[in-house]
Structures are given as C-alpha cells and as structure tokens.
C-alpha cells in the first residue's frame, strides 16, 4: 500500500464487502476510458532517499553567498520564530476558514494581517492577501475598471516592475506608457480614458516616486490612483493613503518570507472603505458569537466566486493565509521601530555601496534621483562583472540588458561584503 494510507488487507476486504463489490477494480467500473498500465514514474523512494535527492538538487544551485539581486524579491533577515509559528500543524494543515467556530486562529491572524497592511498603507481596509505582487497589481487594475465603470486601461511607466506589467497585460488590461525621465515618472499628461494610474514607489530602479502627483493626475481624469509599494519602505515613507492613492498593493515577501526561487509569497491589497465591495479576495471581519463573545469571520462574501459565480469580482478563491501569517508575525516582532531600522540599515548600506562605486569611477544611471536600497549602476559588460563576482562567492545584481546592473542592498549585507563587491567590480569593470 502507498506510503500514507493506513489500510491493511483485512480493512480493504471488510470495506469492499460493506460496499458490496469484490475488488478494488470494481470501484472503477464506471470509468471510461480506463488507464490500465502502471504509471511510468521513477520507482518509489523512502523519505530518507527522497530527501537525499532534494539535497543533491539543492547542491546544483548556487547558494550560501551574499545576494545583490532584488527587482521584486529581497534577501532579508528572517526571525526564527516565524517558521516555528507557520509550521504549527493547526495553521499549516487547515483550509479556508469556512467553519469559523474551529478556525478562529487563522481568522484572527488574518484580521491582524489586514490591520498591519492598513497601518502601513494608511488605507482603511485590506483583504486577506492575494497570490503575490504581480497578481495584486493585476487585480488592482481590474478593480479600477469596476470602480470607474471604464474599460480596463491603465497608465504605467518604466518605473513599474516590467514583470508586473506583463502580468497586467496577460489579464487583458490595456496598458499605456507614461514618460519616464531621470529615474522618475512624468504624470503631467495622463490620457483621459484610463481607469487607473499606477505609481510604483520605490520604483523598479529603487527610486522614490511622487505618489501625490500620480494621485492628482489620476483624479484629474476621473481615474483611480494605485500605488505599488514595498511594505518595508512604508516604515519610513509617507503612506500612499495620505498621498491620495485610492488603492495600495504590493509584494509582502520582504516581510519575513524566504526567497525560495520566487514563491510562495503573498500579495497585499488595501483601499478606502467606500471601495470595499470592489475589493477581490477574502476579508475577515469582527463579530460576536451567540454568547456575545468577540470573534472573527469571513465577511462580505457576496463579492466572491462561490456565491456570485460569473458575476464575482474575481475568480480568486484562496488567500495566502500561511505566508500572510509569516508577514504578520514579522511585523509583530519588528514593530514600528524594528521595521524602520530594517529600512534605515538597508538605505545606509545601499548608499555606502553607491558612494564607493562612484569613488572607483562608476556612474549611477540616475545620479540625481532619490533612492532607497536599490540602484542602477552603469557598466558595459554586466555579465563579465557578475562572473567575476560569482568567482568571489557573491551573487551580483540584475543585468538590465542595456549596460547597467540593478543592485539591491539589504540589512543582511555586511560592510565587508560591500567592500569586496566594490573591489571586484572595480577590477572587472
């Protein structure tokens, strides 16, 4: 019998008899066309053997080195407490809290996640999370169309992570491009038929954008402003809510989630309470039980696919409860001061690195623009530099493909790593 099935031969016999059939094959009498060959899969492995295979595969990856890649996923310090909590079976092995009486743990954690996102973004309501950053951006684009009753058409610039833009296009949203100059977006001439104006801050190149200008431009044409923000940055930057954004979305990975080759992460979405009925995904709300005790429950369910079917806001069914839990525990452990320290350490180290690189003769692509912890630095042959870095046990930055490297620096990088980075780049450049 298979690995995790408890059935003995006697069990099977007794159960077949109770059902009134003779063999297991009889249970598939109605199946047509039948598949009768053995599946052509590798032979079964024990847990020990399987995990040795995992180790062997992991050994084929470059790992254990300082990472200077960012562009939407960041190598940050993760407190050990997080996996201790997210690994608890009660959280890990449950499903969507349809039965609130036995799901208060997740429901309250979701409520706390929503609260954290609201506090960071300065917007009143948040959903229980969506798949990840790009998905949050795409869902926000569709949300602007529903709210403005216009066709889904959004204005973005090169400052929006190009991968987010690609997903928006996959979701059949028309995209118009705004001018991007000197590292920031020019919002002065937004077309008047768009449903949304998107502003990513810090943008793809790590630069702080003017969310207020984006909001004014959006509202000037009857559109909504969607701000795409790194949640860590919101510990030091003004909230998108205070700057006039109608919706804030982004990638929650920096809040305590491992890189794990791109996922699973969690996307966040927050908006004004007046727009809540057009927010996709689950929302946990406070209520009371029969004895008047405070409790939590999934609410405003009338927006969702299992109730409204073809008329739902989105087909989204799941949220990322367990990764959202990681973000919540991270925010709780860090608190406002810890989050700010993460941001400040990253900014200080990134600026130290940018200064040193300029000292050895390299040029920043946008030297005048205000950046946080990520910046583009010009170099004729990024590939060669990255090879040299790898040779020195460093994972270099992202090749932008046009003579520049996008470098991300987090609180995890040490001065020594930064100095070695500069030395290798100077010699390889």
């Amino acid at each position: 019998m298979a690995r995790f099935t408890p059935h003995t031969d006697a069990d099977i016999q007794e159960m077949l008899e109770a059902i009134g059939v003779e063999t297991l094959d009889d249970l598939f009498a109605d199946v047509s066309p039948k598949f009768e060959d053995p599946l052509d899969l590798p032979p079964v492995l024990s847990e020990y053997e399987a995990l040795r295979d995992v180790e062997a595969r992991a050994g084929e990856n470059v790992s254990g080195m300082p990472i200077f890649l960012g562009a939407g996923a960041y190598d940050r310090i993760i407190p050990s407490s997080i996996s201790a909590i997210t690994g608890r079976g009660e959280f890990l092995t449950s499903y969507t809290p349809y039965q609130p009486e036995v799901s208060q743990g997740h429901l309250q954690a979701i409520f706390e996640f929503q609260s954290v996102i609201s506090e960071l973004t300065g917007l009143e309501v948040s959903n229980a999370s969506v798949y990840e950053g790009a998905n949050a951006v795409a869902e926000a684009a569709l949300m602007t169309a529903r709210l403005t009753k216009r066709d889904p058409k959004v204005a973005v610039s090169a400052g929006l992570n190009p991968r987010y833009r690609e997903v928006v296009e996959t979701y059949r949203v028309e995209v118009v491009e705004l001018p991007f100059d000197g590292g920031t977006t020019d919002f002065s001439a937004v077309p008047d038929d768009v449903s949304g104006v998107f502003v990513q801050s810090p943008n793809f190149f790590g630069i702080v954008e003017d969310i207020e200008a984006a909001s004014e431009a959006a509202h000037g044409v009857g559109a909504l402003c969607v701000a795409v923000c790194d949640p860590i940055s919101l510990s030091v930057l003004e909230t998108p809510g205070n700057l006039g954004a109608d919706v804030a979305v982004g990638e929650a990975q920096p809040l305590g989630m491992p890189l794990i080759f791109g996922g699973p992460y969690a996307g966040y979405m927050a908006t004004h309470e007046k727009f809540v009925r057009q927010l996709p995904g689950r929302i946990a709300g406070e209520t009371v039980d029969r004895e008047g005790k405070l409790a939590y429950v999934l609410t405003l369910r009338g927006r969702e696919q299992d109730i409204r079917r073809a008329k739902a806001n989105s087909n989204i069914c799941t949220n990322q409860a367990v990764t959202a839990l990681a973000a919540t525990v991270y925010a709780a452990l860090m608190g406002p001061e810890g989050l700010r320290e993460v941001a400040e350490l990253s900014i200080s180290k990134a600026h130290y690195l940018a200064d040193r690189l300029q000292d050895v003769g390299l040029k920043l692509r946008y030297p005048e623009a205000p950046f946080l912890w990520e910046f583009a630095v010009e170099m004729p042959d990024v590939d060669r530099v990255n090879d040299a870095l790898l040779h020195n046990n460093i994972v270099g930055g992202l090749d932008l493909g046009d003579g520049a490297m996008l470098v991300a620096v987090t609180e995890k990088r040490t001065k020594r790593e930064l100095d070695v980075f500069v030395e290798v780049v100077a010699n390889a450049g």
Binding site: A18, K34, L41, Q104, V208, F261, R301
Partner: protein, 476 residues
Amino acid sequence: MLGERSLESLIRDKGREGRRGYTLPKPDVERTDLEKVLPKKSLRKEKPGLPEVDEPTAIRHYTNLSRKNWGIDTNFYPLGSCTMKHNPRANEAAAAVPGFANLHPLQPESGARGALRVMHELQGFLSEISGLSAVSLQPMAGAQGELTSILMVKRYFEEAGDEGRTTVLVPSTAHGTNPATASMAGFKSVEVGLDEHGCVDVDELRALVDETTAALMITNPNTCGVYERNIAEIAEILHEKGAFLYMDGANMNANLGRMRPADAAVDVMHFNLHKTFSTPHGGGGPGSGAIACSEVLAPFRPDPVVERNGDGFRFARPEKTIGRVSTFHGNFGVLLKAWNYIKMHGPELRDVTDMAVLNANYVRARLRGAYRIPYDELCKHEVVVQPPKGKKALDIAKGLIDHGYHPPTIYFPLVVKEAMLIEPTETESKETLDDFVGAMLELAESTPEDLEEAPIHAPTRRLDETRAARQLKARW
C-alpha cells in the same frame, strides 16, 4: 482545554511602547540621514500603529491562536472538493533546505540548475499522470490555473482569427471559480444541466454547442463525486464544432493511475498540487494550479516553461504565449513539495486513488438509510449526502464539530439541496471512518432543537455573520 474558549486579545494590545521582539545586527556603515537623501514630503510623519511586543509574548500569542484552529493534524477534516489528506512533513523538510529556501528567483539559470531540474522533472511527472504532452507550472492556485487555461483557449481563437467564440459552457455542478474564470477571460458563461446520474446532460450539451462555443469546463469526477461517464463523447461533441474540452482537475485524487484526461481527449486541465499531491493548504494558501495541455495549445502556455539545454536546463518563452501569470516562476516551494511527494510514491500513486475511492464508497455505504444519497451509485473520491428530511446541513455540520470532526463542505454542489459533500481522502483509517459515521448516524437522530445549539465545545459558538457584514470592522 482551559483557555481555548477564552478570548485572545489582539497582538497589538499585548505590547507596550518601546518593546521589541527582534534584534538586528548593529550598523557597520555610517547612518544615512534620510532627510538628506529623500524629499522631505516623501517621509512618513506618523509611525505605523504596529504591535510593540517581545518575542516570548509574540510566540505565546500565535501559539494560542493556533490552538483555536483545527487542521488535518488535529482533526478528521472531510471537506469535500478540497482533498484534505495528510501533509507529509518530508515536504516541509524539502522546502527548508537552504539551497532552495535562499535561492533568488532571478539567479542566472546556471546558478539555479537544481531548481530547474526539479521543475523539469515535475513537468514530466504531470505529463505522465495526465497523458497530456505539455505542462506549465506557473499558475499559483487552482483558480489561476483555470484562468490560464481559458486565456490560452481565448488566445488560440484570436490567433486563428475565429472571433465568434464568445461562450464557455459550465455544468451546473461546477465550482464557482469556473464561471468566474470565464467572465474574467472575457467569455459569457452558459450553464449546462445534468442527467439523472448527476453528470453533464449530453443531449442538452449537443444542443448548446455551436460555432460560438470556445470550451466546456468539466470537473471529473464531478462535484457530486460521480465519474463523468460520457466524457469521451462530450469531447467529440465539442471537437466537432471546433471547441475545446477543459478539465478542472480539483478532483484528480480520484484519477491517479486509473484515468488519464488525455485518453478522454481533454485538451487542457489544471491540477491542484495542494490537493492531489499533499502540499499543505495553509488556511487557504499558498497552493499551485499547474496546467497540462495538448500540443495544439502548448505554444500558448504562460512564460516561462523549463526546457532541456544540453546537460542543463533553461527557461523558455512559448512561441505564442499568453504572457506571464506570476512575477517569477510560480510557487516554486509548492512545486518542490509536490515533486517530493510524487517521488515518494512513484507508480504507487494509483494506490492513493484506490484508497481514496474505497474510503468514500465505504462512507456512502455506511450512511445509506440514515442520510439521503441523491446519486447512490459508485462514487469516486467523495460522496454527496443530504440530511434526513426536516434537518439542515448547517446544523449537522455544527453538530459534527461537537463530536470533534471538521464538517464536510456544505451547500455545495448547488444542485443538491442541503448538500453535504464528504471527502475522506486515502489517509484516514477504517476506524476513523467508523467513528465519523457513528457521529453522523447519531446526529441524524438528534432533534432540531439539540442541533440548533451546536457547537457548544468549540472555541466559539455560532457567529453573527450579518453583523460582521453590516458593521464592517476589518482592522484594529
């Protein structure tokens, strides 16, 4: 049990200004003055109202929350259509290996060879299991796998210059995600009725399918737990008019090694790796909605797919791709767990399906008489039942909680009044099923007045759901 019924206050209310739960390394470079490098108006004026707690308090808080939550690890969880099978911890161990956990998604392919190999092998496994030649691992949930599939169909017709394909057919038993997906992809969804077995009514389907039909979204076995015995004929009806057959693979736990969608001429399908291949559901996610499709649709798959490249592997952009559906490469951590699970089973995956179907039929046989069974014939991995007349599915469900069982899915499928959809999965023993059946039989005999009070032993009593919606409070 003491404490479980007590109210857990919010984490923010357990702190005090100035407390910290984590220590960061000391700065080793000069501190950058934010006011000097950033525009003043961009700086935050008020700090966010986040918790200020110490680590022990945070750990205790979330541990206590977890104790108010049931999972497969704590209770039998026969939630129909969700395949709540045991989640092997070997999967978690695999995803925690630093060579994977710390791997940046934009690391060059040469530095992520192991990860690409895992993805390439998993593509092969899913191809073998479905019989369909092409796979994409990009969708991050079942619903996104559906959307990806239907967008591929849409793009196919656009490419073919066939602009008249405006409708997607959806059986009345379908998951809500199916019609919602059709709408999102820009199709009108049209419902198809059922025959006396709870299966798609073939005559009605034949009358509905024409040159405006893009696809039928079928779930097999369907959400009544019944095998769609006419699936091959259904495929023929669609193909005759140039339409596609999409299969919702939420119920693949009933098919492993027993039925391959390709043999029934399915064109495209999605898997729920978190259901069929045991990756944890995590209270609602993350999951993975990998898809498999025929050669015809393969060029439309999302970007990227993994290909062999000499001795190694590379990411490739399918020729007529619908584009990206995720920022990077889908939920790799979930893919890794599913890959590990399949490797721990190999061809024995068929036993998984056999035991899942045995368990569901056993429950069906044992409940017969006390509960109404609208389709009382062979079921597959799940069975839909109705409470005795005059009793509500909701009350029985809440009564089950007092017996220590997570309730089945209730009021779904919509076509069955007072439906209770029970999916035991293969990882439950006969004893567990016998005890569960015992509770169900007892509840069938209970008075409505008794049931009305349930649950009384759970962390909370029944909730006022109307109040939650009318007086929305969704944050502290």
